[in-house]
């Protein structure tokens, strides 16, 4: 085997890995495990992120996670501080009318209550950080490019919309500056008028020019789509999506008959995939330098999915290990199997190739 060359991993692989880690996090409230998951994600991100602009946001996701925890705790303190035995302090209680029985504002704040809020918040924060890490590791635009070709038009539209935002900011800034040249006439309402109208007019002009350019460059060519073909695609897609909806509901709601659950979901996915394939066949379009799915991609994706499956199994075999007891209070323990499984999630920091530093993309 020759030397491993730096290349960008398929964005789908990073997303699968991150979703796996996130799924694992939903299975547990054990703070030690959750912190471990965050640490593992952090290690992978710091080892494999590139210099590109979108790769700089990990810190922001972590901060956002901390905010989630703080909010959770504050709300818990004011609304129903908990019935635990270990009362930390008492907030002034606001008496509520009879109709609002069961809701308490203020009052005693117990250690159990606060800890429950912290655990819960930590789980949410971990989810946010896992999904954030996917955004940091994978180029969002390349992910759009890897969509099935039947969804190509949607992908292009999203790409264009994404590039519109910075343009609006730019023209907004320009107009604000130009406004000073007229002496910033008028007040409040006039301000909106003077900035919004030139910016919107500018955006409209640009969209028309872009539409003309895309049209004359062949966007939306659909050579030879027969009526029957279109009907087939539409039928497959609609029934597939319906199946997915019913199936998801069935899997989540345990009271429904088993048939409506997993089998329905699988059938729905199969139909939708068939629809995408049928739709994609009539699109005479090709991909420039598509991201390919190779050994490393499979490895990274498997790591994430493996963690999710392992924690799922642990959760059904030994639920107490993943959800430490608060009544009575006890120290959370670090269950061996789950810990090893989560550590497995750090493997991509070695498996995945180094990213190509996006040269010149520093601005």
């Amino acid at each position: 085997m020759g030397p491993r060359l730096a290349r960008d991993l398929h964005p789908g692989a990073w997303w699968l890995w991150a979703l796996g880690m996130a799924a694992a996090a939903t299975r547990t409230t054990n703070p030690l495990l959750l912190v471990l998951i965050v640490a593992v994600v952090g290690v992978v991100v710091s080892a494999r992120r590139s210099e590109a602009p979108w790769a700089k946001g990990f810190g922001a996701y972590v901060v956002f996670g901390l905010v989630v925890i703080a909010l959770r705790v504050v709300f818990r303190m004011f609304l129903d501080g908990g019935d635990g035995a270990h009362v930390l302090f008492r907030l002034p209680e606001i008496p509520l009318p009879e109709a609002a029985a069961g809701i308490r504002l203020g009052g005693a704040v117990s250690l159990e209550g606060v800890l429950a809020a912290v655990y819960d918040g930590l789980r949410l924060a971990t989810l946010v950080i896992c999904l954030g890490s996917a955004n940091v590791l994978a180029n969002p635009k390349r992910l759009l490019k890897s969509m099935p070709s039947a969804l190509y038009e949607v992908g292009s539209a999203v790409t264009v919309a994404l590039s519109l935002a910075p343009q609006m900011v730019e023209s907004g800034r320009r107009v604000m500056r130009a406004r000073r040249l007229r002496g910033e006439p008028g007040r409040r309402l006039a301000w909106f008028h003077q900035v919004a109208i030139p910016v919107m007019a500018d955006a409209l002009d640009r969209s028309l020019m872009l539409a003309a350019a895309m049209d004359s460059r062949g966007y939306g060519r659909t050579a030879g789509a027969t009526r029957a073909g279109r009907t087939l695609t539409a039928t497959l897609m609609l029934s597939g999506l319906g199946g997915i909806c019913v199936g998801t509901y069935g899997t989540l709601d345990t009271t429904t008959p088993r048939v409506i659950g997993l089998p329905m979901l699988v059938a729905g996915v199969a139909l939708a995939v068939g629809g995408l394939a049928a739709g994609g066949r009539r699109v005479p379009r090709s991909r420039y330098r598509p991201d390919r799915w190779r050994r490393e991609e499979i490895g990274v994706a498997l790591c994430g999915l493996g963690v999710a499956v392992a924690l799922g199994i642990v959760a059904s075999v030994d639920p107490d290990a993943l959800n430490p007891s608060l009544q009575p209070l006890s120290w959370p323990a670090l269950p061996l199997v789950a810990t090893v499984a989560v550590l497995l999630g750090a493997l991509p920091s070695v498996i995945a190739p180094q990213p190509r530093l996006a040269a010149g993309a520093s601005t």
Binding site: R177, L181, R217, G218, P284
Partner: protein
């Protein structure tokens, strides 16, 4: 290759057709130049070639347009993508992706070109246009010339037989324009591409054209460039000079003109151009050590600049050399990180415009920005004018009367967005002048203007200077500078590299010399007008 058969186009709501009974036949491998005043129907003609008119623009097309045998009435523009490549005026507005390489591949992806072929063609295109080192650069960070070449490359990668370019060089500095034109001529000569180019800056393109289409009053006439330009309503300076001297056939390049210009040079040898009276007015704007920074990049590096009263100063330099930043810093609305600016509106009490409230600063220094439309937000011209009067505390009707002096006959109820570039510029200039500033700054006012509009702007700036105002105008247009500026300041990398009387600065560098100077060198003539005046004196 391209056939127009009795083509008429009428836009909905328009009283007269935009094109009337156009018959054209553009053979394969020709560089065809479309010439005409603003609003003569150039864009409509170009749009017809790939069916954007009428499929995209709306309107009614009669007659028949066929490209390589394919009828535009029967196919939408996207079905012409493999045959006709279209590059718009503003390349940035037409970009779909955000990286050079992806942009080159976008069109081919639509056509379903095989990935291996696509990979090869992208590399070829990168080399053909000399943009290989830009391949992974974000499109927004490129310079204007680079963007224009990427836009051309993006359609070229589809191997079209016809290339349609709408004002490919109007926003570019002379050097970038040369790059783009060199690329276009190379495509025509080496690959046999048929190119249809509309351009206001004829002095740049006319010499390369094989065929000229002159549009006038919605009708078109085509023919050999020299013959067509003889009578065209729009002509580059070299053609004007040729008409004046009676050369036939008309030379279109400086080289051809020099060959036949010896008799003219002999006649002019004894004369010298009537020079503008030396500007020795008081210094009105005094900038010392001006520094403007954006993050770590320094846009203006400690520049000293003076503008005198009664003087028109041209500010030149390539895109990104700090011209706009300097103008904004002088006006006081833009950032200034160092140095001082003093405006001597009142000789006894110099002011720093940056310290004034915006509403006050504009009474001293007025600036017309690069996109004048940014200042307009009301639905009619008359509303904009009366708003301007009340903002400036001027008598009612001030703005409108200034506007009428600049461009007569704009309807009160017109929406400002529907005005032509020249009319819109005039409206914004009128709004700024209604505050009666001593100093008037204009940022790239000449882009998109045709020769008559540019001449009108030039004489207007001269009038302002005569009235004792100080004018500074940034532009790429050497011919415009030669015609109306007293002094030229050339900037590079945020520094002043030349500052002196127009005749000296402009003739000193070949890239900056106007066409007349190139033809009549070493004699110091810059414009056709000065030559005409001198000749008129010679034979009264």
């Amino acid at each position: 290759m391209i056939h127009f058969d009795q083509v008429s186009v009428t836009y909905p709501g328009a009283a007269t057709p935009a094109l009337r009974d156009v018959d054209l036949n553009i053979p394969e491998g020709e560089l065809c130049l479309v010439v005409g005043r603003t609003g003569a129907g150039k864009s409509t003609l170009l749009g017809c070639v790939n069916g954007l008119v009428p499929h995209f623009s709306g309107g009614d097309l009669r007659g028949r347009v066929r490209v390589d045998g394919r009828d535009t009435a029967l196919h939408p523009p996207r079905d012409f993508a493999d045959l006709v490549g279209v590059v718009g005026q503003d390349p940035l507005a037409g970009f779909v992706t955000d990286v050079v390489e992806d942009e080159l591949a976008f069109g081919m992806e639509q056509l379903g070109v095989a990935p291996a072929v696509m990979r090869k063609r992208v590399e070829e295109t990168l080399d053909l246009l000399g943009i290989a080192e830009l391949r992974s650069r974000p499109l927004r960070t490129l310079s204007g010339g680079q963007q224009q070449r990427v836009a051309i490359g993006a359609v070229l990668a589809m191997h079209p037989k016809v290339l349609v370019l709408d004002e490919p060089t109007s926003a570019l500095d002379p050097t970038a324009a040369e790059e783009v034109l060199a690329a276009i001529t190379r495509l025509v000569h080496d690959l046999g591409v048929t190119a249809v180019v509309a351009e206001h800056r004829l002095e740049r393109v006319a010499q390369y054209a094989d065929l000229v289409i002159v549009l006038e009053d919605a009708t078109a006439a085509a023919g050999d460039p020299a013959t067509m330009l003889e009578t065209s309503p729009i002509a580059p300076p070299i053609v004007e000079l040729g008409r004046l001297a009676g050369w036939s056939p008309l030379p279109l390049s400086a080289r051809d003109a020099r060959r036949v210009a010896q008799p003219l040079r002999d006649r002019l040898a004894a004369l010298s151009p009537a020079s503008n009276p030396n500007c020795d007015g008081d210094v009105v704007v005094e900038g010392r050590g001006i520094v403007v920074r954006y993050g770590t990049t320094v846009a203006v590096r400690g520049i000293d600049v003076e503008i005198r009263s009664g003087e028109v100063v041209a500010l030149m330099g390539r895109n990104g050399s700090g011209k706009s930043s300097l103008l904004w810093a002088l006006q006081g609305s833009g950032p200034r990180d160092g140095g001082s600016v003093l405006v001597h509106s009142d000789p006894n009490a110099p002011l720093d415009p940056a310290r004034l409230r915006p509403a006050e600063a504009r009474h001293h220094v007025g600036l017309v920005p690069q996109t004048p439309a940014d200042l307009l937000y009301l639905p009619t011209v008359v509303a904009e004018c009366s708003q301007a009067d009340s903002d400036a505390a001027a008598a009612a009707g001030t703005c409108r009367s200034v506007l009428d002096r600049l461009v007569a006959g704009i309807d009160d109820e017109t929406h400002p967005r529907d005005l032509s570039e020249g009319q819109r510029l005039a409206l914004v200039l009128a709004i700024q002048l209604s505050a009666a500033p001593r100093v008037v700054l204009l940022d790239e006012p000449t882009r998109g203007l045709d020769y008559p509009a540019k001449a009108a702007l030039g004489s207007l700036l001269r009038d302002l200077a005569e009235a004792g105002k100080s004018v500074m105008v940034s532009t790429h247009d050497v011919e415009f500078v030669a015609a109306c500026a007293d002094r030229v300041v050339v900037m590079a990398e945020g520094e002043v590299v030349a500052d002196g009387p127009t005749a000296e600065v402009v003739v000193a560098s070949p890239a900056f010399a106007p066409q007349v100077a190139k033809v009549l060198a070493p004699q110091p003539w810059l414009t056709v007008a000065t030559v005409r005046d001198a000749l008129a004196e010679l034979e009264p």
